[in-house]
């Protein structure tokens, strides 16, 4: 755990207590079993907004608390522990960050207070194929009078069904694969020509694919610079990556706690299984992996708050190292629990499934290892 300010400690403790009481993993199970299409409970979401978490990275002038990314990460970690489902990450972190970093004054005023209140849900639509490749953006934004028309398809959009506003990466120039020629647009999700289809993922959240059929888009919908939006996009994605790291950290930490508890209580061959050295060493390795990954996650969040020069590297490091650890941890969660871990009645499967979805989001380990090396020049 990073050295925290008093305010950060309070928020973390509050998040821990709230999630345990109001949104524990049993709540997630109930939500899954109910088949809720949006993948979260409205009352969970409004409670979060009331707690102020939706405004953590939003400046006070727009209704937020501007406490920063490390603070946001502390909340996401606690929610990750409980698999608490909500649009907090998609809207309160990614959506808000896009507006804060790239929005015009008009865009900010129109949307940030609503995000902070939880009445608007903004989300980023970037991926177009099975793999994360922001520079591969192909969705076309063609000039149409003073505005544009958007045509193409986005996939794996977080909270794509519940979103009220979409931040869409589109190509205004150049070819897919080039970082130049990309522009971000901010449009209402109910614009004519926007067709959303649910993606029923194994983590039971509300992702969507979105088809854009010549969607009319005014020039004022441009978010950031025309043709030159990749830098903004990447900066927004990095905030998302760091946030996912925190979510994954919570997921892994809970998986570890469950595993350690089982090691201490489950008996086989006349002793608790944690007394078998092979399992004891495995637990020690998992603990070490978690401590190392935690350092990366917290460093990335802190770097965002400090606007540090190596922020991009640290965000890739965080997503990659955390991904590596969560991969191991989620598999060992099942393996060490044995048969009971394989049953749907037990929660282990939820964590395993969630782990793989988080891994695929915003660039997997391979993506971020490659990006890390390129940022370091080799």
């Amino acid at each position: 755990m990073a050295a925290l300010t008093e305010e950060q400690s309070i928020i973390r403790d509050q998040a821990k207590a709230w999630a345990a009481e109001q949104a524990p993993v049993q709540a997630f199970r109930a939500m899954r079993d109910s088949g809720a299409a949006t993948g979260f409970e409205p009352k969970t979401w409004s409670a979060m907004a009331e707690l102020g978490w939706t405004g953590i990275v939003i400046p006070e002038a727009y209704g937020g608390s501007d406490l920063g990314y490390l603070t946001f990460g502390l909340v996401l970690e606690e929610l990750g522990r409980n698999l608490t489902a909500s649009p907090l990450f998609a809207s309160g972190l990614v959506g808000a960050a896009a507006l804060v970093l790239g929005g015009t004054e008009a865009q900010k005023q129109a949307l940030l207070p609503a995000i902070a209140k939880g009445s608007a849900i903004a989300t980023l639509a970037v991926d177009e194929g099975p793999r994360h490749a922001p520079a591969g953006t192909a969705l076309r934004a063609e000039r149409d009078g003073s505005g544009y028309r958007l045509s193409g398809e986005k996939t794996f959009v977080f909270e794509g069904l519940a979103a009220t506003d979409l931040i869409v990466a589109a190509r205004t120039a150049g070819s897919p694969g080039e970082t130049a020629g990309i522009t971000l647009f901010l449009i209402p999700a109910d614009t004519a020509g926007v067709n959303r289809t649910p993606m029923q993922t194994m983590d039971s959240r509300g992702y969507a694919t979105i088809r854009f059929d010549s969607v009319p888009t005014p020039a004022e919908a441009v978010l950031g610079e025309t043709d030159n939006g990749f830098g903004l996009l990447d900066a927004v994605l990095d905030r998302g990556r760091a946030g996912l790291g925190a979510d994954m950290l919570g997921t892994a930490a809970q998986a570890f706690d469950m595993t350690l508890e089982y090691l201490k209580t489950r008996k086989q061959f006349g002793q608790v299984i944690g007394g078998f050295q092979a399992l004891g060493h495995r637990a020690a390795a998992l603990f070490s992996g978690m401590e190392l990954a935690r350092s990366c996650v917290e460093a990335a969040l802190q770097a965002l708050d400090d606007d540090a020069p190596d922020t991009a590297q640290l965000c890739s490091l965080s997503k990659a190292k955390m991904g590596e650890h969560l991969f191991q941890m989620s598999n060992q969660l099942i393996q060490i629990h044995g048969g009971i871990g394989m049953t749907d009645e037990f929660d282990a499967g939820f964590y395993l499934k969630r782990a793989r979805v988080l891994e695929a989001a915003f660039g997997n380990r391979a993506f971020h290892r490659d990006r890390y090396a390129r940022l370091l020049g080799f």
Binding site: T209, Q268, L352, R365, A366
Partner: protein, 403 residues
């Protein structure tokens, strides 16, 4: 080994028989594909089962008098080999549940003549399905700590307790169960192996839902269930010997079964090229993934070569080899890693649970990946296999038990 004239004539006779008896409509199917996806073929399947059973080829190495064909293992392999080009298959081991692969071979060694006469034909014909009541909720890898008990009631045992992971219990006619017959004896010494019919009011089954969805597994409850004394397999309180042998058969059937290619499975490099793309030189564009894919393919090949080597060493004789313990973990690691790679390749399309946003193949990959997590848990967990290698093969001290 060069083939003798006799070998060749046997091969020819197999080929001829298959040509005139295998229903061509079933070609290239499997039991599962046939019954689950094409009920119209049910009568062809039943006729094919009947002909195979009459020939004794459901369990070809079993004695003729017990429904087998009295063939040698190399001869049985010839039948398998000759089936392949025709797309033929033997549905009987599947229909018999745990009968042909596990209970039967064990009964051939430990059973009385009466037991063999009563039970083996039903397995070999695929008409009687068997399940196994071994694991219990609190036992796990420590099978010997089981608590289901059998009380001696003169001509029969009264059985009480709960079993878990009884695959196919809800559709089986018979069960082989491990029960405690002497609670006062040391853990492994008071256990017996009994056979009992499932169609009793005091036997209840409850299907288990897995992380991958519905499953063949059940919880099975015995409340004063009855097993005839004549259906005690092996000696009283010597069930541990019986089960050890039975588990060897299990490991052996897993080692070969796990390796069978799924119908029309797309090779991973092709799948990767399709989802990930290639560079100008034809290599996968994600080099990090490529390196790990190569690792997995090499591990897969090394495993296959090891299976072949063990067969060659045994010179065609199927022997329950100590090396089987190596193969279980090796097969499991290869398969689980492959499933992970498949998910990684599919990316955002590899995280689906259901619905139209994903291709059926994509959804199936996710379910198989999840179900495959069990492979390192059941049938001797990954850890137990390593204990066995360390102790039985390398001669290192036992680490799981004190005293």
């Amino acid at each position: 080994m060069t083939a003798t004239a006799e070998d060749l004539s046997f091969r020819q006779s197999v080929r001829d028989w298959l040509a005139s008896n295998f229903p061509p409509a079933l070609a290239g199917k499997s039991y599962r594909a046939t019954v689950e996806k094409d009920p119209a073929l049910a009568s062809d399947l039943e006729s094919w089962r009947g002909r195979l059973a009459a020939q004794g080829w459901g369990a070809p190495t079993w004695p003729k008098k017990y429904g087998g064909a009295g063939l040698s293992h190399p001869e049985a392999k010839v039948i398998q080999e000759e089936m392949e080009p025709l797309g033929a298959f033997n549905p009987i081991p599947t229909l018999a549940g745990m009968g042909v692969t596990m209970v039967g071979p064990t009964m051939l060694e430990y059973g009385t003549d009466d037991q063999k006469a009563r039970h083996l034909r039903g397995m070999a014909s695929g008409e009687i399905r068997w399940c196994l009541g071994l694991s219990e909720p609190n036992a796990g890898s420590d099978l010997a700590s089981l608590s289901a008990r059998a009380e001696d009631k003169g001509d029969h045992f009264l059985i009480n307790g709960q079993k878990i992971w009884t695959s196919g219990a809800d559709v089986s006619q018979w069960c082989g169960a491990l029960v405690r017959t002497d609670p006062s004896a040391a853990k492994r010494d008071g256990i017996s192996f009994v056979l009992l019919p499932m169609d009793q009011p005091d036997v209840r089954t409850r299907p288990i839902r897995l992380i991958s969805g519905v499953s063949p597994f059940c919880e099975t409850y015995f409340d004063d269930a009855r097993a005839d004394k004549a259906d005690l397999l092996g000696k009283l309180n010597d069930g541990w010997s019986v089960i050890k042998r039975l588990l060897q058969h299990e490991r052996q059937s897993q080692t070969s079964a796990d390796r069978r290619k799924l119908d029309n499975e797309e090779p991973l490099p092709d799948l990767a090229k399709r989802y990930v793309g290639t560079d100008a030189d034809g290599t996968l564009s994600d080099k990090d993934l490529r390196a790990r894919l190569i690792d997995n393919m090499m591990a897969d090949k090394a495993h296959t070569l090891t299976v072949a080597r063990i067969r060659a060493e045994a010179q065609g004789q199927v022997k329950v080899s100590a090396a089987a313990s190596i193969l279980k973990n090796s097969a499991t690691t290869v398969a689980q890693t492959k499933a992970e790679l498949k998910m990684e390749i599919m990316g955002a399309q590899g995280v689906g649970w259901e619905g139209d946003a994903f291709e059926p193949d994509e959804l199936a990959s996710v379910r198989e990946w999840l179900f495959g997590k069990a492979a390192s848990i059941y049938g001797g967990s990954y850890e137990v296999q390593y204990n066995i290698i360390a102790k039985n093969i390398l001669g290192l001290p036992e680490t799981t038990q004190k005293g």
